[in-house]
Every structure is written in structure tokens, then in C-alpha cells.
Symmetry: C2
Subunit: 228 residues, 2 copies
């Protein structure tokens, strides 16, 4: 026991090596920039320009672009270089379908195992959600929703699915904020999340799953109107 305590102390002593390699910082910035709409879809990403914008060398930029390419946020045009990925309705439709499949099983899993502490965490995230939605802050709502689902996925032991969903969400990020800007969505969204939570709170996996499917389906319907 003493040994354990000692090890813990020593571990706590450890100087937090900033996981901040230049590349990771640049990756994060670039990803946020794309998701945040700082770059338009289809816009060319000229390497040397990005170099001076981010203040790093081309090597870093290129490796970051490789990563974003694999994530689906950037597309490579042969002989022309990278551009910000564009999104058509068919792709978006599929993404919403996949989300519906993964999120509904995740909430069901979560409902099966949810104990008091998870429910408390979810309740807190939901409070944040209502607060931001009352403030009419689309990005705030998005963050709160993300937090809610993050808890759901991790509680159910679905971290890989969470990774996939996160990646898919970043590909439809623009769509998501536009979807949220739809006025009635600002109120209906939290309502549906509340419904999902109620099912989880009652440990009713099936109800949670169907509520979740409804939630994603509603978002997809709005997205379809916007995009097509």
C-alpha cells in the first residue's frame, strides 16, 4: 500500500511533458479551422501559404494534411493538391444513417449499465445544453450535445464508435450549425435529448434507442432541406 502511494506521488511529480509537438498543435488548429468554417469547402489549401499562416514548415503542414485527408476533412486533387472536402447530400445522408445506427446502440448500451454517477453527469450536460439553447448559442448547443454523447458512449464502453462518430460529425460540422440555426431546432433539439435522457434514466435501452433514432432522423431531415 505504501509502495502504491509512493508510486502515485512520483507519478504526480512528473513534469507534464506537453504532448504539444508542433504537428499536433497544427493538426488541431487546422481541424478547428476547417470545422469552424474558416476555410470554405472546396477551397484550395496551398501548402506554402499555410506554412506562413501557421508559422511552421512544409513538412509539418504536409503531415497534418495527410492526417486530415485520412479523416475525410481534406481531399487531394491529382496534380492540384489538397482542398477542403466538399459535402453532397448523398454523403451527408449516409453519415446521418451511420450516426443513427451507432448512436442508437450506444444509448441503448448506456441505458443498460447507467448508474447514479453516469446519470448525474448526463444531467449536468443536459443542464448546459438547456442553458446554451436559451442563450441561442448554436456552437454552445453543439458542444453541450457533444459532451452528452461523449458521456453516453464512454459509459457504454464504446470508445471506438465514439471516435468514428466524432470524425463523421466533423465532416458535417457546417451542416450541423446550419441545422441548429433553424429556429424550431433550437428548442426541439434539447427536447429530444431530454427524451433520450429520460429513457436512460429509466434504464430502458429500447426506448432510448428509438428516441435517439428520432433525434438523428429529425436532424437529417432538416439537413436534407438545407443541402438539396
Amino acid at each position: 500500500m505504501v509502495m502504491k502511494k509512493n508510486a502515485e506521488n512520483l507519478a504526480a511529480l512528473r513534469i507534464e511533458t506537453p504532448p504539444a509537438t508542433l504537428r499536433e498543435i497544427a493538426l488541431d488548429r487546422m481541424r478547428r479551422a476547417i470545422i469552424g468554417g474558416l476555410f470554405e469547402p472546396g477551397e484550395r489549401l496551398v501548402e506554402r501559404t499555410l506554412c506562413e499562416q501557421l508559422g511552421v514548415s512544409r513538412s509539418v503542414i504536409r503531415e497534418v494534411i495527410r492526417h486530415l485527408e485520412a479523416e475525410g476533412l481534406v481531399e487531394m486533387l491529382a496534380k492540384q493538391g489538397p482542398i477542403v472536402a466538399t459535402l453532397n447530400w448523398d454523403d451527408a445522408r449516409q453519415i446521418y444513417e451511420i450516426r443513427a445506427a451507432l448512436e442508437s446502440t450506444a444509448v441503448a448500451d448506456c441505458a443498460k449499465v447507467a448508474g447514479p454517477e453516469i446519470k448525474t453527469a448526463l444531467r449536468k450536460a443536459m443542464g448546459e445544453l438547456e442553458r446554451t439553447s436559451k442563450q441561442n448559442s448554436p456552437v454552445g448547443v453543439l458542444d453541450a450535445t457533444t459532451e452528452f454523447y461523449k458521456i453516453v458512449f464512454e459509459a457504454g464502453g464504446n470508445n471506438i464508435a465514439w471516435e468514428i462518430v466524432s470524425r463523421l460529425n466533423s465532416r458535417i460540422s457546417r451542416l450541423r450549425v446550419m441545422t441548429l440555426s433553424t429556429s424550431n431546432r433550437m428548442t426541439s433539439g434539447p427536447l429530444q435529448i431530454r427524451e433520450i435522457f429520460a429513457a436512460i434514466d429509466g434504464n430502458d435501452g429500447e426506448a432510448a434507442a428509438s428516441a435517439c433514432r428520432a433525434h438523428v432522423g429529425a436532424a437529417a431531415a432538416i439537413a436534407k432541406i438545407i443541402l438539396s
Copy 2:
């Protein structure tokens, strides 16, 4: 009609620009090497060594590693560099669950829309599957199964889900061949695929989905025995 023919000829004239940038070739080779087990899980991927093994510069290798990292085939150890990703049972379990979700909806979608030409293509893939399984060729069976599902996903308009499934499959590739090497699996696998096909052939989405879930579930069960 004449116009059409003309356009076709013109298109045929086009000089095949080799999609062969060094990086893409190297990416392909590396991915195959990892999936094929040429590198052990956990094995360090020393950049300079790979350079001379592949005959390219470090820039290329590093960009390839970024890509593979984003794909989940390679992990980065802080201050130590890249290693071949390792697989624990919890991750594998999740991957099989996600596959079950995505593949079952894909076969259901396929069953809903499958026409004669799709069914013919599936039948052909299944013939290949039976042939390779009789020859006791695990990799052949794997390829044939992959081809079968590829047709299924594309027929149902689920190319993004296919991309995700492919990526997940590459992460459990070692497990898959080990799973197939299980003797009874060599015969039961094709049988289950045949069952899925029968449901698609009868355009019965629900039956196809449940057969598919059974198929993936059986694979997961064997994987669990192997891995834990």
C-alpha cells in the same frame, strides 16, 4: 447515338495518368505489410529503416505513417515513435459490434433494392468464396468475403459505411485470418454468407440483417476465444 460513341472513343484516348505518387505506392505497401502480418503488432517502425526498405525518403515515410496513424493501424508512442497498433479484446469486441451494426443495415438496404444484376454479382462472389474455402485458403476466403460485402454495401448506396468497415477490418486483420483458420469456421463461414445471400435473393431485409448479425457474432465469439 453517334455522339455517344464518339464521346466514348474520346474518353478512351485519355492518357492514363499514373496515380502513382511515391507516397501512395508506399502507403499501399505499408498497409498491406501491416495487414499481412509482415510487421508484428507492437513492433517499432523505425523511419530510417523503412526508408531503405522501401527505397524512399523520410518525408514519404513520415507522411505515410501519418495516414496509417489516422487509420488506426499505427500508434505513436511519445518520444519513441510509431509502432504497429496492438489490439486488445475490448477494442476488438467494439469493432465486431460496430461491424454488426453497419453490416446488418447494409445487407438490409441491399436486400431492399437488389435486382437481378446485383444478385448475379453476389452469386459470383459466393462461388469464389466456396471455391477458396474448399481449397482451404484463408486469405482467399477473406478476399472473397470482402468482395461479397463490397458489392452489398455499394448496391445499397453505403459507400461511406463501407469505408469505415474496411478500415475496421484492417485493424482486426490478424484476428480475421486466425479466426478463419479455425477449422469449423472454414465451413461455417460460407454457410452463413449463403444464408445472407438467400435472404437478399428473396429481398427480405429483416432476415438478411439477422443472418448477418449471426455471422458477425459467430466471428466475434471465436475471436474472443483466441484473444482472451
